[in-house]
Protein backbone atom coordinates (compact mmCIF):
# COMPACT_ATOMS: atom_id res chain seq x y z
CA UNK A 1 0.00 0.00 0.00
CA UNK A 2 1.53 3.33 -1.02
CA UNK A 3 0.48 6.77 0.17
CA UNK A 4 0.10 8.21 -3.31
CA UNK A 5 -2.58 5.87 -4.57
CA UNK A 6 -4.52 5.49 -1.35
CA UNK A 7 -8.28 5.27 -1.85
CA UNK A 8 -10.61 6.81 0.76
CA UNK A 9 -11.65 3.33 1.86
CA UNK A 10 -8.06 2.25 2.53
CA UNK A 11 -7.61 5.41 4.53
CA UNK A 12 -10.55 4.57 6.82
CA UNK A 13 -9.43 0.97 7.38
CA UNK A 14 -5.80 1.95 8.03
CA UNK A 15 -5.39 1.89 11.80
CA UNK A 16 -2.31 4.05 11.79
CA UNK A 17 -3.76 6.87 9.69
CA UNK A 18 -7.11 6.76 11.43
CA UNK A 19 -5.48 6.73 14.87
CA UNK A 20 -3.23 9.65 13.93
CA UNK A 21 -6.20 11.72 12.75
CA UNK A 22 -8.12 11.00 15.96
CA UNK A 23 -5.06 11.74 18.11
CA UNK A 24 -4.30 15.06 16.41
CA UNK A 25 -7.97 16.03 16.48
CA UNK A 26 -8.21 15.26 20.21
CA UNK A 27 -4.98 17.07 21.12
CA UNK A 28 -5.69 20.19 19.07
CA UNK A 29 -9.47 20.20 19.30
CA UNK A 30 -9.99 19.44 23.02
CA UNK A 31 -10.68 23.14 23.87
CA UNK A 32 -13.51 23.23 21.34
CA UNK A 33 -15.12 20.26 23.11
CA UNK A 34 -15.60 22.44 26.21
CA UNK A 35 -19.37 22.93 25.54
CA UNK A 36 -19.76 19.16 25.19
CA UNK A 37 -18.09 18.47 28.55
CA UNK A 38 -20.12 21.32 30.10
CA UNK A 39 -23.29 19.55 28.94
CA UNK A 40 -22.13 16.12 30.10
CA UNK A 41 -20.98 17.33 33.53
CA UNK A 42 -23.27 20.27 34.36
CA UNK A 43 -22.21 20.35 38.03
CA UNK A 44 -18.54 21.07 37.29
CA UNK A 45 -17.35 24.69 37.44
CA UNK A 46 -14.48 24.00 35.06
CA UNK A 47 -15.37 21.24 32.61
CA UNK A 48 -12.09 21.57 30.64
CA UNK A 49 -8.54 21.10 31.92
CA UNK A 50 -6.83 24.38 31.07
CA UNK A 51 -3.83 24.59 33.43
CA UNK A 52 -1.58 23.28 30.65
CA UNK A 53 -2.24 22.93 26.94
CA UNK A 54 -2.89 19.37 25.81
CA UNK A 55 -0.30 19.90 23.07
CA UNK A 56 2.50 20.46 25.56
CA UNK A 57 1.26 17.66 27.86
CA UNK A 58 1.23 15.25 24.92
CA UNK A 59 4.70 16.27 23.75
CA UNK A 60 6.11 15.90 27.28
CA UNK A 61 4.38 12.54 27.66
CA UNK A 62 5.87 11.33 24.39
CA UNK A 63 9.31 12.64 25.31
CA UNK A 64 9.25 10.75 28.63
CA UNK A 65 8.07 7.53 26.96
CA UNK A 66 10.58 7.97 24.15
CA UNK A 67 13.55 8.62 26.43
CA UNK A 68 12.76 5.78 28.83
CA UNK A 69 12.06 3.34 25.99
CA UNK A 70 15.26 4.29 24.23
CA UNK A 71 17.21 3.76 27.45
CA UNK A 72 15.51 0.38 27.96
CA UNK A 73 16.27 -0.64 24.37
CA UNK A 74 19.93 0.29 24.70
CA UNK A 75 20.38 -1.32 28.13
CA UNK A 76 18.08 -4.31 27.65
CA UNK A 77 19.06 -4.98 24.05
CA UNK A 78 22.75 -4.64 24.86
CA UNK A 79 22.44 -6.94 27.86
CA UNK A 80 20.37 -9.44 25.86
CA UNK A 81 23.05 -9.52 23.15
CA UNK A 82 25.81 -9.85 25.76
CA UNK A 83 24.34 -12.91 27.49
CA UNK A 84 23.86 -14.72 24.19
CA UNK A 85 27.58 -14.35 23.33
CA UNK A 86 29.95 -17.13 24.39
CA UNK A 87 31.69 -14.79 26.86
CA UNK A 88 28.48 -13.58 28.50
CA UNK A 89 26.53 -16.82 28.75
CA UNK A 90 27.18 -17.19 32.49
CA UNK A 91 25.33 -13.97 33.27
CA UNK A 92 22.14 -14.98 31.52
CA UNK A 93 20.36 -16.25 34.66
CA UNK A 94 21.37 -13.18 36.64
CA UNK A 95 20.15 -10.80 33.94
CA UNK A 96 16.79 -12.53 33.61
CA UNK A 97 16.31 -12.41 37.41
CA UNK A 98 17.12 -8.71 37.58
CA UNK A 99 14.81 -7.91 34.68
CA UNK A 100 11.97 -9.89 36.23
CA UNK A 101 12.46 -8.07 39.53
CA UNK A 102 12.29 -4.75 37.67
CA UNK A 103 8.93 -5.82 36.33
CA UNK A 104 7.58 -7.16 39.64
CA UNK A 105 8.20 -3.88 41.45
CA UNK A 106 5.02 -1.79 41.21
CA UNK A 107 5.83 1.40 39.27
CA UNK A 108 4.37 3.52 42.05
CA UNK A 109 6.84 1.95 44.48
CA UNK A 110 9.77 2.69 42.19
CA UNK A 111 8.56 6.24 41.80
CA UNK A 112 8.15 6.64 45.55
CA UNK A 113 11.63 5.23 46.20
CA UNK A 114 13.25 7.36 43.51
CA UNK A 115 11.83 10.65 44.80
CA UNK A 116 13.90 10.89 48.02
CA UNK A 117 17.05 10.25 45.99
CA UNK A 118 16.36 12.34 42.92
CA UNK A 119 13.66 14.79 44.02
CA UNK A 120 10.41 15.54 42.25
CA UNK A 121 10.31 15.88 38.46
CA UNK A 122 10.85 13.82 35.35
CA UNK A 123 14.04 12.06 36.55
CA UNK A 124 12.49 9.54 38.97
CA UNK A 125 9.82 8.91 36.32
CA UNK A 126 12.48 8.23 33.73
CA UNK A 127 14.18 5.69 36.04
CA UNK A 128 10.92 3.92 36.88
CA UNK A 129 9.78 3.69 33.28
CA UNK A 130 13.16 2.47 32.08
CA UNK A 131 13.22 -0.29 34.69
CA UNK A 132 9.70 -1.18 33.80
CA UNK A 133 10.40 -1.45 30.07
CA UNK A 134 13.53 -3.50 30.60
CA UNK A 135 11.99 -6.96 31.05
CA UNK A 136 10.11 -7.28 27.75
CA UNK A 137 13.12 -5.93 25.86
CA UNK A 138 15.60 -8.28 27.57
CA UNK A 139 13.32 -11.29 27.31
CA UNK A 140 12.54 -10.81 23.65
CA UNK A 141 16.11 -9.97 22.68
CA UNK A 142 17.30 -13.24 24.24
CA UNK A 143 14.38 -15.21 22.75
CA UNK A 144 14.85 -13.64 19.32
CA UNK A 145 18.57 -14.39 19.23
CA UNK A 146 17.97 -17.91 20.56
CA UNK A 147 15.48 -18.45 17.75
CA UNK A 148 17.97 -17.91 14.92
CA UNK A 149 18.24 -21.37 13.28
CA UNK A 150 21.48 -23.20 14.15
CA UNK A 151 22.26 -24.18 10.51
CA UNK A 152 22.07 -20.52 9.50
CA UNK A 153 24.60 -19.62 12.21
CA UNK A 154 26.75 -22.60 11.28
CA UNK A 155 26.94 -21.59 7.65
CA UNK A 156 27.48 -17.91 8.53
CA UNK A 157 30.55 -18.86 10.58
CA UNK A 158 31.60 -21.55 8.14
CA UNK A 159 31.63 -19.06 5.28
CA UNK A 160 33.98 -16.81 7.22
CA UNK A 161 31.83 -14.17 8.90
CA UNK A 162 33.39 -12.76 12.06
CA UNK A 163 31.39 -12.43 15.30
CA UNK A 164 30.29 -8.86 14.52
CA UNK A 165 29.26 -9.76 10.98
CA UNK A 166 27.26 -12.74 12.23
CA UNK A 167 25.52 -10.52 14.80
CA UNK A 168 24.69 -7.54 12.61
CA UNK A 169 24.09 -9.21 9.24
CA UNK A 170 22.42 -12.42 10.34
CA UNK A 171 21.34 -12.66 13.99
CA UNK A 172 19.85 -9.20 14.57
CA UNK A 173 17.95 -9.01 11.26
CA UNK A 174 16.48 -12.47 11.86
CA UNK A 175 15.71 -11.75 15.54
CA UNK A 176 14.31 -8.29 14.74
CA UNK A 177 10.60 -9.22 14.63
CA UNK A 178 10.77 -10.84 18.08
CA UNK A 179 12.89 -8.04 19.55
CA UNK A 180 10.51 -5.50 18.07
CA UNK A 181 7.55 -7.26 19.68
CA UNK A 182 9.29 -6.83 23.05
CA UNK A 183 9.96 -3.16 22.40
CA UNK A 184 6.34 -2.72 21.37
CA UNK A 185 5.11 -4.23 24.64
CA UNK A 186 7.56 -2.05 26.58
CA UNK A 187 6.53 1.17 24.86
CA UNK A 188 2.80 0.51 25.15
CA UNK A 189 3.16 -0.27 28.86
CA UNK A 190 5.14 2.92 29.26
CA UNK A 191 2.53 5.05 27.53
CA UNK A 192 0.13 4.01 30.27
CA UNK A 193 2.63 4.03 33.13
CA UNK A 194 3.93 7.48 32.19
CA UNK A 195 0.52 8.83 33.20
CA UNK A 196 1.14 7.67 36.79
CA UNK A 197 4.48 9.51 36.72
CA UNK A 198 2.52 12.74 37.18
CA UNK A 199 2.27 11.81 40.86
CA UNK A 200 5.97 12.63 41.28
CA UNK A 201 5.79 15.84 39.36
CA UNK A 202 6.57 14.76 35.80
CA UNK A 203 4.44 16.72 33.40
CA UNK A 204 2.52 14.12 31.36
CA UNK A 205 -1.00 13.38 30.17
CA UNK A 206 -1.49 11.86 33.63
CA UNK A 207 -1.67 15.37 35.08
CA UNK A 208 -5.33 16.05 34.19
CA UNK A 209 -6.14 12.49 35.32
CA UNK A 210 -4.47 12.89 38.72
CA UNK A 211 -5.88 16.39 39.23
CA UNK A 212 -9.29 15.16 38.13
CA UNK A 213 -9.19 12.21 40.54
CA UNK A 214 -8.12 14.44 43.44
CA UNK A 215 -10.79 17.04 42.73
CA UNK A 216 -13.60 14.69 41.66
CA UNK A 217 -13.50 16.19 38.18
CA UNK A 218 -14.43 13.32 35.88
CA UNK A 219 -14.18 15.54 32.81
CA UNK A 220 -10.43 16.04 33.43
CA UNK A 221 -9.96 12.29 33.86
CA UNK A 222 -11.76 11.55 30.60
CA UNK A 223 -9.81 14.18 28.67
CA UNK A 224 -6.45 12.85 29.80
CA UNK A 225 -7.45 9.20 29.36
CA UNK A 226 -8.82 9.73 25.84
CA UNK A 227 -5.55 11.18 24.59
CA UNK A 228 -3.46 8.50 26.35
CA UNK A 229 -5.60 5.83 24.71
CA UNK A 230 -5.34 7.43 21.26
CA UNK A 231 -1.58 7.74 21.67
CA UNK A 232 -1.33 4.05 22.57
CA UNK A 233 -3.36 3.08 19.50
CA UNK A 234 -1.19 5.18 17.18
CA UNK A 235 2.06 3.78 18.60
CA UNK A 236 0.74 0.22 18.42
CA UNK A 237 -0.31 0.66 14.80
CA UNK A 238 3.06 2.21 14.01
CA UNK A 239 4.82 -0.86 15.41
CA UNK A 240 2.54 -3.04 13.32
CA UNK A 241 3.69 -1.21 10.21
CA UNK A 242 7.34 -1.43 11.24
CA UNK A 243 7.05 -5.18 11.92
CA UNK A 244 5.59 -5.72 8.45
CA UNK A 245 8.44 -3.75 6.92
CA UNK A 246 11.07 -5.74 8.84
CA UNK A 247 9.70 -9.09 7.64
CA UNK A 248 8.78 -7.97 4.11
CA UNK A 249 11.17 -10.62 2.70
CA UNK A 250 9.05 -13.41 4.19
CA UNK A 251 5.84 -12.15 2.60
CA UNK A 252 6.92 -12.56 -1.01
Amino acid sequence: MTGAGMAPRDFLTDRLMLGLVVLVALVLGMPSLKPLFATLFPRLDRPLYEAESFVSLTLDHMALVGASSLAAIMLGGGAGIAVTRPWGREFRGLLETVATMGQTFPPVAVLALAVPVMGFGPEPALIALTLYALLPVVENTVAGLDGVPAPVLDSARGLGMGPAEVLFRVELPLAAPVILAGIRTAVIINVGTAAIASTVGAKTLGLPIIVGLNGSNQAYVIQGALIVAALAVVIDAGFDRLAGWLTRWSQR
Binding site: V152, G158, G160
Partner: protein
Protein backbone atom coordinates in the same frame (compact mmCIF):
# COMPACT_ATOMS: atom_id res chain seq x y z
CA UNK B 1 46.66 -30.44 -0.01
CA UNK B 2 45.16 -31.18 3.39
CA UNK B 3 47.19 -33.05 6.01
CA UNK B 4 46.00 -34.42 9.35
CA UNK B 5 48.76 -35.52 11.68
CA UNK B 6 47.75 -37.43 14.81
CA UNK B 7 44.69 -35.20 15.29
CA UNK B 8 42.57 -35.81 18.38
CA UNK B 9 39.38 -34.12 19.53
CA UNK B 10 37.60 -34.80 22.81
CA UNK B 11 34.22 -33.59 23.98
CA UNK B 12 34.41 -34.04 27.74
CA UNK B 13 35.35 -37.67 28.35
CA UNK B 14 34.25 -38.75 24.88
CA UNK B 15 36.94 -38.97 22.21
CA UNK B 16 35.28 -37.94 18.97
CA UNK B 17 38.41 -38.14 16.84
CA UNK B 18 41.27 -40.36 17.98
CA UNK B 19 44.78 -39.70 16.64
CA UNK B 20 43.71 -39.54 13.01
CA UNK B 21 46.30 -39.01 10.28
CA UNK B 22 45.61 -38.74 6.56
CA UNK B 23 46.40 -36.65 3.51
CA UNK B 24 44.02 -35.39 0.87
CA UNK B 25 45.82 -34.63 -2.38
CA UNK B 26 45.34 -31.46 -4.38
CA UNK B 27 42.26 -31.82 -6.60
CA UNK B 28 41.14 -35.07 -4.96
CA UNK B 29 37.51 -35.92 -4.23
CA UNK B 30 37.75 -37.44 -0.76
CA UNK B 31 34.71 -38.98 0.87
CA UNK B 32 34.51 -39.49 4.65
CA UNK B 33 32.06 -42.19 5.59
CA UNK B 34 31.06 -43.98 8.76
CA UNK B 35 28.19 -44.64 11.15
CA UNK B 36 26.78 -41.73 13.15
CA UNK B 37 29.14 -40.73 15.93
CA UNK B 38 32.14 -42.03 14.01
CA UNK B 39 33.75 -38.58 14.00
CA UNK B 40 33.48 -37.89 10.27
CA UNK B 41 31.68 -34.55 10.64
CA UNK B 42 34.05 -33.53 13.42
CA UNK B 43 37.00 -34.18 11.11
CA UNK B 44 35.36 -32.04 8.42
CA UNK B 45 34.62 -29.19 10.81
CA UNK B 46 38.17 -29.21 12.10
CA UNK B 47 39.45 -28.41 8.60
CA UNK B 48 37.85 -24.95 8.75
CA UNK B 49 38.35 -24.63 12.51
CA UNK B 50 34.65 -24.57 13.36
CA UNK B 51 35.89 -27.17 15.84
CA UNK B 52 39.39 -26.66 17.23
CA UNK B 53 41.63 -29.71 17.40
CA UNK B 54 42.89 -30.70 20.86
CA UNK B 55 46.05 -32.44 19.72
CA UNK B 56 47.97 -32.92 16.52
CA UNK B 57 48.41 -30.67 13.52
CA UNK B 58 46.22 -29.86 10.54
CA UNK B 59 48.04 -28.34 7.58
CA UNK B 60 46.77 -26.91 4.33
CA UNK B 61 49.43 -26.65 1.62
CA UNK B 62 51.99 -27.16 4.36
CA UNK B 63 50.67 -24.30 6.49
CA UNK B 64 49.41 -25.09 10.00
CA UNK B 65 45.82 -23.80 10.14
CA UNK B 66 46.25 -22.91 13.82
CA UNK B 67 48.45 -20.04 12.68
CA UNK B 68 45.73 -18.55 10.46
CA UNK B 69 42.81 -16.30 11.40
CA UNK B 70 39.71 -18.57 11.37
CA UNK B 71 37.70 -16.12 9.24
CA UNK B 72 40.43 -15.84 6.62
CA UNK B 73 40.86 -19.61 6.54
CA UNK B 74 37.11 -20.16 6.07
CA UNK B 75 36.79 -17.59 3.31
CA UNK B 76 39.27 -19.65 1.30
CA UNK B 77 37.06 -22.76 1.58
CA UNK B 78 33.55 -23.53 0.45
CA UNK B 79 31.21 -24.92 3.11
CA UNK B 80 27.96 -26.78 2.44
CA UNK B 81 25.82 -28.45 5.11
CA UNK B 82 22.88 -30.83 5.04
CA UNK B 83 20.33 -28.30 6.28
CA UNK B 84 21.66 -25.80 3.70
CA UNK B 85 21.54 -22.82 6.09
CA UNK B 86 20.78 -20.16 3.51
CA UNK B 87 20.24 -16.71 5.00
CA UNK B 88 16.42 -16.52 4.83
CA UNK B 89 16.30 -12.71 4.80
CA UNK B 90 18.62 -12.40 1.80
CA UNK B 91 17.87 -12.99 -1.87
CA UNK B 92 19.54 -15.84 -3.74
CA UNK B 93 21.94 -13.32 -5.26
CA UNK B 94 22.97 -11.88 -1.91
CA UNK B 95 23.34 -15.36 -0.41
CA UNK B 96 25.69 -16.44 -3.19
CA UNK B 97 27.57 -13.15 -2.91
CA UNK B 98 28.33 -13.70 0.80
CA UNK B 99 32.02 -14.60 0.61
CA UNK B 100 32.91 -12.38 -2.39
CA UNK B 101 31.25 -9.57 -0.42
CA UNK B 102 33.33 -10.36 2.67
CA UNK B 103 36.43 -10.39 0.48
CA UNK B 104 35.52 -7.00 -0.96
CA UNK B 105 35.14 -7.94 -4.63
CA UNK B 106 33.86 -5.11 -6.88
CA UNK B 107 30.07 -5.16 -7.40
CA UNK B 108 30.20 -5.87 -11.14
CA UNK B 109 32.49 -8.86 -10.64
CA UNK B 110 30.20 -10.25 -7.93
CA UNK B 111 27.18 -9.85 -10.18
CA UNK B 112 28.86 -11.65 -13.07
CA UNK B 113 30.02 -14.42 -10.74
CA UNK B 114 26.48 -14.92 -9.39
CA UNK B 115 25.13 -15.22 -12.94
CA UNK B 116 27.85 -17.71 -13.84
CA UNK B 117 27.17 -19.84 -10.74
CA UNK B 118 23.40 -19.86 -11.17
CA UNK B 119 23.91 -21.12 -14.72
CA UNK B 120 26.47 -23.68 -13.52
CA UNK B 121 23.92 -25.07 -11.04
CA UNK B 122 21.10 -25.03 -13.62
CA UNK B 123 19.10 -22.21 -12.08
CA UNK B 124 17.80 -19.54 -14.48
CA UNK B 125 19.44 -16.30 -13.26
CA UNK B 126 16.56 -14.11 -14.43
CA UNK B 127 14.10 -16.15 -12.45
CA UNK B 128 16.04 -16.96 -9.29
CA UNK B 129 18.48 -14.11 -8.71
CA UNK B 130 15.95 -12.03 -6.76
CA UNK B 131 14.07 -14.90 -5.12
CA UNK B 132 14.16 -15.58 -1.39
CA UNK B 133 15.15 -19.04 -0.06
CA UNK B 134 11.65 -19.86 1.19
CA UNK B 135 10.37 -19.54 -2.38
CA UNK B 136 12.66 -22.38 -3.54
CA UNK B 137 12.30 -26.16 -3.34
CA UNK B 138 14.74 -28.16 -1.20
CA UNK B 139 16.80 -29.14 -4.23
CA UNK B 140 16.97 -25.56 -5.48
CA UNK B 141 17.99 -24.36 -2.04
CA UNK B 142 20.89 -26.81 -1.97
CA UNK B 143 21.89 -25.73 -5.48
CA UNK B 144 22.10 -22.19 -4.12
CA UNK B 145 24.01 -23.56 -1.12
CA UNK B 146 26.58 -25.16 -3.42
CA UNK B 147 26.76 -21.99 -5.54
CA UNK B 148 27.34 -19.93 -2.39
CA UNK B 149 30.16 -22.25 -1.34
CA UNK B 150 31.82 -22.02 -4.77
CA UNK B 151 31.38 -18.25 -5.09
CA UNK B 152 34.89 -17.09 -4.25
CA UNK B 153 36.53 -19.89 -6.25
CA UNK B 154 37.77 -21.80 -3.21
CA UNK B 155 40.48 -24.40 -3.68
CA UNK B 156 38.86 -26.58 -1.03
CA UNK B 157 35.18 -27.45 -0.80
CA UNK B 158 33.87 -28.93 2.47
CA UNK B 159 30.52 -30.71 2.27
CA UNK B 160 28.71 -32.23 5.25
CA UNK B 161 26.05 -34.67 4.01
CA UNK B 162 24.91 -32.04 1.51
CA UNK B 163 22.43 -34.20 -0.40
CA UNK B 164 21.12 -36.47 2.38
CA UNK B 165 17.86 -34.59 2.86
CA UNK B 166 16.94 -34.55 -0.84
CA UNK B 167 14.71 -36.91 -2.77
CA UNK B 168 16.56 -39.61 -4.77
CA UNK B 169 16.10 -37.98 -8.17
CA UNK B 170 17.27 -34.55 -7.05
CA UNK B 171 20.14 -36.17 -5.16
CA UNK B 172 21.28 -38.08 -8.23
CA UNK B 173 21.25 -35.01 -10.45
CA UNK B 174 23.15 -32.94 -7.87
CA UNK B 175 25.71 -35.74 -7.53
CA UNK B 176 26.22 -35.72 -11.30
CA UNK B 177 26.56 -31.94 -11.35
CA UNK B 178 28.98 -31.96 -8.43
CA UNK B 179 31.13 -34.56 -10.19
CA UNK B 180 31.19 -32.40 -13.32
CA UNK B 181 32.05 -29.28 -11.33
CA UNK B 182 34.83 -31.14 -9.53
CA UNK B 183 36.32 -32.38 -12.81
CA UNK B 184 36.12 -28.94 -14.39
CA UNK B 185 37.43 -26.80 -11.52
CA UNK B 186 39.91 -29.21 -9.97
CA UNK B 187 38.76 -28.12 -6.51
CA UNK B 188 39.76 -30.41 -3.65
CA UNK B 189 36.55 -31.79 -2.16
CA UNK B 190 36.06 -33.31 1.30
CA UNK B 191 32.61 -34.84 1.39
CA UNK B 192 30.96 -36.42 4.44
CA UNK B 193 28.20 -38.97 3.91
CA UNK B 194 26.69 -42.05 5.52
CA UNK B 195 25.53 -43.39 2.15
CA UNK B 196 28.02 -45.88 0.65
CA UNK B 197 26.43 -45.71 -2.80
CA UNK B 198 27.03 -41.97 -2.82
CA UNK B 199 30.60 -42.50 -1.59
CA UNK B 200 31.35 -45.10 -4.27
CA UNK B 201 29.85 -42.90 -6.92
CA UNK B 202 31.63 -39.65 -6.06
CA UNK B 203 34.88 -40.44 -4.28
CA UNK B 204 38.34 -40.72 -5.73
CA UNK B 205 39.22 -42.16 -2.36
CA UNK B 206 36.96 -43.14 0.52
CA UNK B 207 38.02 -42.83 4.16
CA UNK B 208 35.98 -45.07 6.46
CA UNK B 209 35.74 -43.96 10.08
CA UNK B 210 34.46 -45.70 13.20
CA UNK B 211 34.61 -44.61 16.84
CA UNK B 212 36.86 -41.68 15.98
CA UNK B 213 39.41 -43.83 14.18
CA UNK B 214 40.28 -44.14 10.54
CA UNK B 215 39.57 -47.77 9.56
CA UNK B 216 40.43 -47.73 5.89
CA UNK B 217 41.28 -45.18 3.27
CA UNK B 218 41.17 -46.54 -0.26
CA UNK B 219 39.75 -46.24 -3.77
CA UNK B 220 36.12 -47.30 -4.33
CA UNK B 221 37.36 -50.47 -6.04
CA UNK B 222 39.51 -51.45 -3.05
CA UNK B 223 36.73 -50.63 -0.59
CA UNK B 224 34.53 -53.06 -2.51
CA UNK B 225 37.03 -55.80 -3.14
CA UNK B 226 39.42 -55.48 -0.19
CA UNK B 227 37.43 -54.23 2.80
CA UNK B 228 39.77 -53.80 5.77
CA UNK B 229 37.23 -54.83 8.40
CA UNK B 230 33.77 -56.34 8.84
CA UNK B 231 32.44 -52.81 9.37
CA UNK B 232 33.59 -51.73 5.92
CA UNK B 233 32.04 -54.85 4.45
CA UNK B 234 28.76 -54.07 6.26
CA UNK B 235 28.78 -50.48 5.03
CA UNK B 236 29.12 -51.72 1.47
CA UNK B 237 26.47 -54.37 2.03
CA UNK B 238 25.86 -57.63 0.20
CA UNK B 239 22.81 -56.41 -1.61
CA UNK B 240 23.54 -55.69 -5.28
CA UNK B 241 27.25 -55.99 -4.54
CA UNK B 242 27.83 -57.07 -8.12
CA UNK B 243 26.20 -53.95 -9.50
CA UNK B 244 28.20 -51.74 -7.13
CA UNK B 245 31.33 -53.53 -8.25
CA UNK B 246 30.44 -52.86 -11.88
CA UNK B 247 29.60 -49.22 -11.12
CA UNK B 248 33.18 -48.35 -10.11
CA UNK B 249 34.62 -49.29 -13.48
CA UNK B 250 33.82 -47.97 -16.92
CA UNK B 251 33.07 -49.55 -20.27
CA UNK B 252 36.46 -48.35 -21.53
CA UNK B 253 38.22 -50.41 -18.83
CA UNK B 254 36.85 -53.72 -20.14
CA UNK B 255 36.26 -53.23 -23.88
CA UNK B 256 38.13 -55.51 -26.32
CA UNK B 257 39.99 -52.91 -28.37
CA UNK B 258 40.50 -54.77 -31.62
CA UNK B 259 36.93 -55.90 -32.24
CA UNK B 260 33.97 -54.14 -33.76
CA UNK B 261 30.23 -54.77 -33.91
CA UNK B 262 27.23 -52.86 -35.22
CA UNK B 263 24.66 -51.11 -33.07
CA UNK B 264 24.11 -47.99 -31.00
CA UNK B 265 27.49 -47.47 -29.27
CA UNK B 266 28.15 -46.74 -25.57
CA UNK B 267 30.53 -44.01 -24.44
CA UNK B 268 33.78 -45.35 -22.95
CA UNK B 269 33.16 -43.49 -19.64
CA UNK B 270 29.78 -45.21 -19.07
CA UNK B 271 29.84 -47.15 -15.78
CA UNK B 272 29.68 -50.91 -16.27
CA UNK B 273 26.38 -51.41 -14.44
CA UNK B 274 24.73 -49.20 -17.06
CA UNK B 275 26.28 -51.31 -19.79
CA UNK B 276 24.84 -54.44 -18.20
CA UNK B 277 21.43 -52.80 -18.02
CA UNK B 278 21.78 -51.81 -21.66
CA UNK B 279 22.60 -55.42 -22.66
CA UNK B 280 19.53 -56.69 -20.84
CA UNK B 281 17.37 -54.02 -22.43
CA UNK B 282 18.62 -54.77 -25.93
CA UNK B 283 18.83 -58.55 -25.51
CA UNK B 284 22.46 -58.67 -26.62
CA UNK B 285 25.74 -59.90 -25.15
CA UNK B 286 27.97 -57.52 -27.11
CA UNK B 287 27.92 -53.73 -27.35
CA UNK B 288 30.07 -51.37 -29.48
CA UNK B 289 32.07 -48.74 -27.57
CA UNK B 290 33.16 -45.26 -28.69
CA UNK B 291 35.72 -42.96 -27.09
CA UNK B 292 35.20 -39.31 -26.06
CA UNK B 293 35.61 -38.12 -29.66
CA UNK B 294 33.06 -40.61 -31.00
CA UNK B 295 35.67 -42.94 -32.58
CA UNK B 296 35.15 -46.72 -32.27
CA UNK B 297 36.93 -48.05 -29.17
CA UNK B 298 36.17 -51.77 -29.29
CA UNK B 299 33.46 -54.10 -28.06
CA UNK B 300 32.20 -54.94 -24.59
CA UNK B 301 31.31 -58.61 -23.99
CA UNK B 302 28.92 -59.84 -21.29
CA UNK B 303 31.45 -62.48 -20.26
CA UNK B 304 33.99 -59.71 -19.51
CA UNK B 305 31.54 -58.14 -17.08
CA UNK B 306 31.18 -61.38 -15.17
CA UNK B 307 34.88 -62.38 -15.21
CA UNK B 308 37.01 -59.33 -14.61
CA UNK B 309 40.77 -59.42 -14.23
CA UNK B 310 40.75 -59.04 -10.44
CA UNK B 311 38.52 -58.66 -7.40
CA UNK B 312 35.36 -59.85 -9.03
CA UNK B 313 33.70 -61.74 -6.22
CA UNK B 314 32.27 -60.71 -2.88
CA UNK B 315 35.08 -60.75 -0.32
CA UNK B 316 34.49 -63.18 2.53
CA UNK B 317 31.92 -65.49 1.00
CA UNK B 318 28.99 -65.83 -1.34
CA UNK B 319 26.41 -63.10 -1.77
Amino acid sequence: MIEFEQVTKRFGSWTAVDAVSFTVAEGEFRVLIGPSGSGKSTVLRMINRLIPADEGAIRIDGEDIASLKPEELRRRMGYVIQSVGLFPHWTVERNIATVPGLLGWPKARIRDRVTELLELLNLDPRRYRGAYPHQLSGGQQQRVGVARALAAEPRILLMDEPFSALDPITRASLQTELSAIHRRTGTTVVFVTHDMDEALRLGDRIAVMDHGRLIQCATPLDILTRPASPLVRDLVGREEWGLKRLAVETVGDRARRQESVTGEPLAAETPLHRALSEMVARGTERLPVVDGDGRPAGVLHLSDLVRPTSGGVVPGGTA
